[in-house]
């Protein structure tokens, strides 16, 4: 099957999941005790006020009508308005900047995790059971065990409090305005996020590359006297395939980490935003976040699948 057809089929298969995500984020309103009414009216709202709010928000309509109204809004880019944190501001506008910030944090963290992890993993796979391999095993388990938010605290303490480096204090990340400052702001969060996950990448890389060495086709290439660099290249190509599948998972973990790391550094990203929204019970915002993050993750899984299809002709069939 051609690559294009494969990609098309993958896209189609993502649709049911996407629909379920919309149900899930819409259903959020119903799993909470008071819902938006309680949040708006507060503890002291009179029953009459609450009834009025319900009517205004259209909460008395049948569920499917509410869902369709909401989904229609979503398609036209209208995610509703903020109620508690900044009353009246459209959510889409509020979310744009934090999303970009978190995006860059995730990218930077993933870069660190992949470069460090792949290098350590590949090195220890080439010489299994050597001191390097043992060292990498211990360090990868150690880095895996360190919570990223604690690493962030320590980095902040060492570079910000003790050495008082200016770049240690992270702030708004906006590459369109201040590139140098944005890059500086990324350094510590990226290390905190990436280093903690490099261990996982290293372990998986090592395992896969080690296994592929004993595959018959690699053996065949060896006994056919192909040069070593060609054999190693093929080992990497085939060994990287399973790593691609955990790529999405690793990026997910890093994204998860941004929530906490943003709180440590005070970086105005999605995480900080989410925690505030959760504490103030800003429902429409939470709904939107679930929808947006869910969609992003579906797209990312799709991307990994497609990448896998490009690298491995077998899955295209």
């Amino acid at each position: 099957m051609s690559l294009l057809k494969y990609i098309g089929r993958r896209f189609v298969s993502a649709i049911p999941t996407l629909i379920l995500i919309t149900f899930l984020s819409f259903g959020l309103l119903y799993i909470t005790p008071g819902g938006p009414v309680e949040a708006l009216a507060g503890m002291f709202g009179t029953p009459e006020q609450k009834v009025r709010i319900r009517q205004e928000l259209g909460l008395d309509d049948p569920v499917h009508v509410q869902y369709l109204r909401w989904i229609k809004g979503v398609f036209s880019g209208d995610f509703g308005e903020m109620i508690v944190m900044a009353p009246g501001t459209p959510i889409a506008e509020m979310l744009r900047k934090p999303l970009i910030t978190t995006f860059w944090l995730t990218v930077a963290g993933a870069l660190v995790a992949l470069t460090v992890g792949l290098t350590i993993g590949a090195l220890s796979a080439i010489k299994p059971n050597s001191w390097l391999d043992s060292l990498s095993r211990v360090t990868s388990i150690a880095t895996y065990s360190i919570p990223d938010f604690w690493l962030a605290i320590i980095l902040l303490f060492v570079f910000g409090v003790i050495f008082r480096y200016r770049w240690a204090i992270s702030g708004k990340i906006d590459f369109s305005r201040n590139v140098v400052f944005s890059l500086q702001s990324l350094i510590l969060p990226a290390i905190a996020l990436g280093l903690a996950k490099a261990g996982i990448v290293a372990r998986i890389t090592r395992g896969e590359l080690y296994d592929v060495q004993n595959k018959p086709f690699i053996q065949f290439e060896r006994v056919m006297g192909l040069p070593n660099r060609i054999v190693i290249k093929d080992m990497l190509h085939n060994g990287i395939l399973p790593i691609v599948t955990v790529l999405g998972y690793t990026i997910g973990l890093i994204f998860r980490g941004t929530f906490l790391v943003e709180v440590v550094f005070g970086t105005p990203g999605i995480g900080l935003f989410l925690v505030r929204a959760a504490k103030t019970q800003e429902y429409a915002l939470l709904q939107t976040l679930v929808l947006v993050i869910g969609t992003v993750f579906i797209l990312m899984n799709l991307l990994t699948d497609i990448l896998y299809g490009v690298l491995d002709p077998r899955v295209r069939t």
Binding site: P16, T17, L20, I21, L24, L28, I31, T32, P33, G34, R137, V138, I141, A142, Y144, S145, I146, P147, F149, W150, I153, I154, L156, F157, V161, I162, G252, L253, F255, R256, F259, L260, V263, V264, L274, V275, A277, A278, K279, Q281, L286, L289, V290, I293, G294, F297, I298, N301
Partner: protein, 309 residues
């Protein structure tokens, strides 16, 4: 499992020093969790004052105004750090272990059923649902759930939720899909193997096939994953606590203790920053090494069967 086989597996387990270390640490933490109230020198809410009378955090190994020696000092509210760490470990561990074990049991049940009845309507529905849940980073759901329920607590039947229960629920919710998928994944190839067909031909009822023939052969992967998820559960519990979504005050929790550490920046009390985080790391380290060890013991089983022919 017969004796000889158990001995081989046990020897392989204790042959790895790192794994033994992990096992010992994990055991130690379990003891701390179980006997916490007996081990802690003070209560977790008891406040002390420094010698000069101010309520600044007391440094490591120094003495309070009333003459108690606090081994690890006190937090910014003057409470004994060691006692809080012990109680905090207890909270974190109880939440982590109960959520992972509940998720695992649920996953074994769902995974073996969907795997055995692969392609049925039941399987399709469960798997689509799981696919949708899997697209989220677990913590997002946890944050939202804890935020929504945590403050007031809601009534589900006879139980009124506490923040702890909400965290457990949220973690079960996030772990079950992955574990179920793993369980289903290891069930499907087994379900197609000839020994299952042979059992069907002998007229064995399906529940017996699943319970006695199929499931015991599919547990390896899910147990390994569950062990590593213990570490992840500790991370998530501590992470929620760190975000201020943990158990209510004054109940200590490792993440909550860590969240206070930024208050020690000004006095540069390095130990105060180091110790709570290190405790979490040690806990996760013990669990992940243990998971690694169990993987090494259980995974090569197949190869070992082949080699012994």
């Amino acid at each position: 499992m017969n004796k000889a086989r158990f001995r081989i597996l046990w020897n392989r387990f204790i042959g790895d020093k790192l794994v033994v270390l992990g096992g010992v640490i994990a055991l130690l933490f379990l003891v701390i969790a179980v006997f916490g109230p007996q081990l802690a020198p003070f209560g977790f809410a008891q406040q002390f004052r420094a010698a000069a009378g101010e309520l600044l955090p007391i440094d490591v190994m120094s003495t309070t105004a009333t003459g108690e020696r606090l081994l690890l000092g006190s937090d910014s509210l003057g409470r004994d750090m060691l006692s809080r760490l012990i109680y905090g470990t207890r909270t974190t561990l109880v939440i982590s272990i109960s959520s992972v074990s509940m998720a695992t049991i649920l996953a074994i049940f769902l995974g073996s059923l969907t795997g055995y009845f692969q392609g049925s309507l039941f399987d399709e529905i469960v798997m689509r649902l799981i696919d949708a849940l899997l697209t989220f980073p677990g913590i997002l759901l946890a944050v939202i759930l804890v935020a929504a329920w945590g403050t007031q607590g809601i009534k589900i039947g006879p139980i009124t939720t506490t923040p702890e229960l909400t965290i457990v629920f949220a973690l079960v919710f996030t772990f079950t899909p992955r574990l179920t998928r793993t369980m289903r994944g290891s069930t499907i190839p087994q379900a197609h193997r000839a020994y299952i067909k042979a059992a069907q031909l002998m007229g064995m009822p399906f529940w017996r096939i699943i319970a006695f023939e199929l499931t015991p052969n599919c547990l390896t992967a899910v147990i390994i994953q569950a062990t590593t998820y213990l570490g992840l559960a500790v991370f998530s519990t501590a992470g929620l606590g760190f975000l201020g979504l943990g158990p209510a005050e004054p109940q200590p929790e490792l993440g909550k203790i860590l969240a206070r550490t930024q208050e020690y920046f000004l006095n540069r009390q390095f130990w105060h920053i180091f110790i709570p985080g290190f405790t979490i790391s040690l806990l996760v380290f013990a669990f992940s090494v243990l998971g690694d060890g169990i993987r090494n013991v259980l995974d090569p089983e197949f190869r070992f069967e082949e080699a012994d022919v």
